[in-house]
């Protein structure tokens, strides 16, 4: 072929060696144990979608964190296509999670490597692969309308409505 010799990837395989498994390690990008129980399709389908997804679930946000803040932070790993704020199903107010969709998978991977586990609004936020936004998934699945984790938690979290819902009802 008359192509120019390329650096990197393909050329590395040409060199008698390839690469080393310790250098291939990319643990921040690997799938977590979590699978969406409401996902319509097989486990295999879900994992296939997760592996090529450009969408991240972002959790442990403060209820007061705005789309603008999320855009600024996650924009550091690449151009954002869309931010969808997670809402309380009843109140329709922010309930502490969101989805961030990138145009390119590589940008989402860099967010998993470098933004996951760092702070936004002084809280350590967590990102995870999402199979893709579908209408309805922007709502919390807890009985009270927020996220499940806020139903039963015992601690006081000023950024997430104070005590858990069950505790509040006592």
């Amino acid at each position: 072929s008359s192509g120019r010799p390329r650096r990197g990837g393909g050329a590395a395989a040409m060199c008698s060696g390839g690469t080393l498994s310790i250098l291939r390690s990319d643990s921040y990008v690997d799938l977590s144990q979590y699978r969406d129980q409401h996902f319509r399709g097989t486990r295999y389908d879900q994992e296939r979608l997760l592996r090529k997804s450009c969408t991240l679930y972002v959790g442990n946000l403060s209820f007061y964190t705005t789309e603008e803040q999320i855009h600024e932070l996650f924009g550091k790993s690449g151009d954002i296509k869309k931010v969808i704020m997670g809402l309380d199903k009843v109140k329709k107010t922010a309930c502490g999670f969101c989805f961030v969709e990138y145009y390119a998978r590589g940008d989402a991977e860099n967010a998993m490597r470098y933004i996951n586990g760092t702070r936004l609004d002084d809280r350590i936020i967590r990102t995870d692969w999402d199979a893709g936004f579908k209408e309805g998934r922007q709502y919390g699945r807890g009985r009270s309308g927020g996220q499940v984790r806020d139903e039963y938690r015992q601690d006081y979290d000023a950024g997430r409505g104070g005590y858990g819902k069950t505790v509040q009802c006592q």
Partner: protein, 672 residues
């Protein structure tokens, strides 16, 4: 032939698993793991681990020789920070099995030639260094190494080749000398002197017009930003003056001297550098970034001077560690902090300097900027008692030298510092920087603080920033990012278009269609024309103003609201902004509404380009227009411009690729 697939549609994961090569590949994985991890987390010494591993590998040679060769060649190429560990291992193997040593050297030469052919010059340097350290391990005879270097240096005599080609061969030669200079000089001093003299004359005559372009600071004080080959040359000259005594590099092979000196050495085959071709792409020249010297840490170990070879070796190794582990930030931080020699060198200072060297590298950092922010945070977590202080000291020094810092680097500094602060509750001793308040606000220091505060606000909210800075800093605080709606107040009712704006507001709130919007807008007179030609929608700035102001005001609540508005009324936008003047005016109105909220302007411009309401040319014209001249040195303007250019580049690449693919498809069609 049955095409029935392993029927597994339910939970068990992927339909087919590769089982063919599991047994041998398990052994290969084990060998690779043993080799890669030698010396890590062990109770025994590195030397006894190496000896043990050499024994294991020697026993495996009959069955797995080619795999072992492949793995060793790969670690030579990809783990340069552990160079001397693996040359020692090869030395021990060569002592036990001379043929294996010979085959390894041959494989290395093949790999070197391959790397040079496919432009993998950085990896090739590692291979050359590995070969030269094999001289110290009695695997390769010193005279044959000198001969190879003679061929390298003679590249400088080639005519009509790019300077960067000669640069690489000189770099490969000089940068191996910290490891092998002593041995080569002892065996072949006359030849080495000749090589060094040829090198010197090449360095004197080569062009260095790239240097001002690549320097992070324009000032030479406190540390000159040296061209990389000039710096390396000074370091090698000093090494030679010190009689090639080098004390930093860990040399495990010294412990095995009695074994290794019994080994038979191999001669390198004569090596002809592959000729320059049209497709050759050599590494770019660099400028060495320095921000610290021994005076910056008076209490700790002495930092090796800028022209010491130790400094070169430490920096090379730290850069290699980052290159190896950039995807794994915790591993990267741990590996950096466990760099040997911790108590003899101010390691934290070296690490911080190397990280900033990469972050500020021109034209671009080797890795994505946010990686460095997060890596520094990981390092602070692992060394909470010492690293944050070094980082604070570095920040202070960078602030002090803003006056001569390259603007692109200042931008990166702002982005890094604001993001870093947002992870530490924005705690900073702002009063220490009160000196900037007395300066003209366009000067680098106050401008830097202003931009940092603006970026900090984007990551939090306006009141937070007001709270974290002393009251005296209010002149540098960012504006409250609120929307400015010119038709908002009853007092503005005399403005032309005011009543239409009111009408539009009600219509939009009542979910009017695009057609209804058009008919409302028909009533807006065109200040540019005497008779309103509303058959075609010629450029009517007032229409644009009324529509865009009103819509953006109604959608001001969040980015999503604004994006929905752009999408819903896309047709109206396209019609109003059909002409070039229309596009420019839309951008002007967006600015007027959102001038307090540069972040909003940036995302709106991005969306409008992507939905083709405006084009890149309009954005460029708007940015360079006289109306925006007062904001020309604000970083958000350049953020928008760079983002626009990037989108344009990506788009061009994408359609170029589609064109090539279509051509290829057409060619295949014609062949049939």
């Amino acid at each position: 032939m049955s095409r029935r697939r392993h029927s597994d549609d339910s939970d068990a994961g992927q339909p087919h698993k590769r089982r063919r090569t599991s047994e041998p590949s398990e052994i290969e994985e084990r060998l690779e793991s043993l080799i890669c991890r030698v010396g890590e987390k062990s109770n025994s010494s590195l030397e006894s681990n190496l000896e043990g591993l050499a024994g294991v590998l020697e026993a495996d040679l009959p069955n797995y020789k080619s795999k072992i060769l492949r793995i060793l060649c790969t670690v030579a190429r990809l783990l340069p920070e552990k160079l001397t560990v693996y040359t020692t291992l090869v030395g021990l193997l060569n002592a036990r099995n001379y043929n294996f040593g010979g085959e390894f050297v041959e494989a290395m030469i093949r790999q070197l030639k391959e790397c040079l052919k496919v432009n993998m010059y950085n990896e090739a340097v590692h291979l050359v260094r590995f070969l030269s350290d094999l001289v110290n391990c009695h695997v390769i005879a010193a005279p044959s190494m000198v001969a190879m270097f003679e061929n390298f240096v003679s590249v400088t005599q080639e005519e009509d080749v790019p300077q960067v080609r000669c640069d690489w061969y000189i770099f490969a030669f000089l940068s191996s000398l910290p490891w092998v200079g002593k041995e080569l000089y002892e065996k072949k001093d006359a030849e080495m002197d000749r090589l060094l003299s040829q090198t010197e004359s090449y360095l004197k005559r080569r062009q260095k017009i790239h240097v001002p372009m690549l320097q992070v600071w324009t000032a030479d004080k406190p540390h000159p930003q040296e061209e990389y080959l000039d710096c390396l040359w000074s370091q090698i000259q000093k090494l030679k003056k010190d009689r090639w005594q080098e004390r930093h590099i860990l040399r495990p092979y010294l412990a095995f001297d009695s074994i290794l000196c019994e080994a038979l050495q191999h001669n390198l085959p004569p090596f002809t550098p592959p000729p320059h071709t049209e497709d050759s792409v050599y590494p770019m020249p660099r400028v060495i970034f320095r921000m610290f010297d021994y005076t910056d840490d008076p209490e700790g170990p002495v930092m090796p001077g800028s022209h010491s070879v130790e400094r070169f070796v430490i920096e090379e190794n730290l850069h290699c560690i980052i290159k190896s582990h950039w995807k794994e930030r915790k591993t990267c931080a741990a590996q950096l902090l466990s760099y040997p020699g911790n108590n003899k060198i101010p390691l934290n200072y070296h690490i911080v300097e190397v990280i900033f060297a990469e972050l500020f590298q021109l034209p671009s950092p080797p890795h994505i900027e946010v990686m460095y922010t997060t890596l520094l945070i990981e390092l602070c977590k692992l060394q909470p008692g010492s690293l944050p202080q070094v980082l604070a000291q570095a920040t202070e020094m960078l602030y002090m030298r803003l006056d001569s810092m390259n603007t692109t680097c200042v931008d990166r500094f702002i982005n890094w510092f604001s993001h870093h602060l947002s992870n530490f509750q924005f705690r900073w001793s702002w009063e220490d920087w009160s000196d900037c308040l007395t300066q003209d606000l366009e000067k680098p220091k106050p401008k830097f603080v202003k931009e940092v505060l603006e970026k900090c606000m984007r990551l939090s909210y306006h009141q937070r920033i007001i709270d974290i800075v002393p009251a005296s800093f209010s002149v540098l605080s960012p504006a409250n990012p609120v929307c400015i709606y010119k038709y908002g107040d009853e007092s503005n009712r005399s403005l032309p278009g005011y009543t239409v704006a009111l009408c539009l507001t009600i219509a939009i709130k009542n979910k009017a269609s695009n057609d209804e919007i058009f008919s409302i807008l028909k009533d807006v007179p065109n200040p540019n024309q005497d008779d309103d030609d509303d058959e075609g929608f010629t450029f009517n700035p007032l229409k644009i103003e009324v529509f865009v102001q009103t819509l953006l005001h109604l959608a001001a609540k969040s980015f999503s609201h604004s994006f929905s508005a752009l999408a819903k009324f896309h047709e109206v936008f396209k019609t109003l902004a059909e002409s070039d003047e229309g596009k420019l005016h839309v951008l002007r109105v967006v600015y007027e509404v959102w001038k307090n909220h540069p972040q909003m302007i940036a995302v709106l411009v991005d969306k409008m380009i992507r939905t083709q309401i405006v084009d890149c040319a309009a954005v460029a014209n708007w940015i360079f227009s006289s109306e925006l001249a007062h904001d020309f040195t604000r970083f958000y303007i350049w953020e928008i411009l760079h983002s626009t250019i990037r989108k344009m580049n990506k788009h061009v690449l994408k359609i170029h690729k589609e064109l090539e693919e279509t051509k290829a498809r057409l060619a295949r069609q014609h062949k049939r």
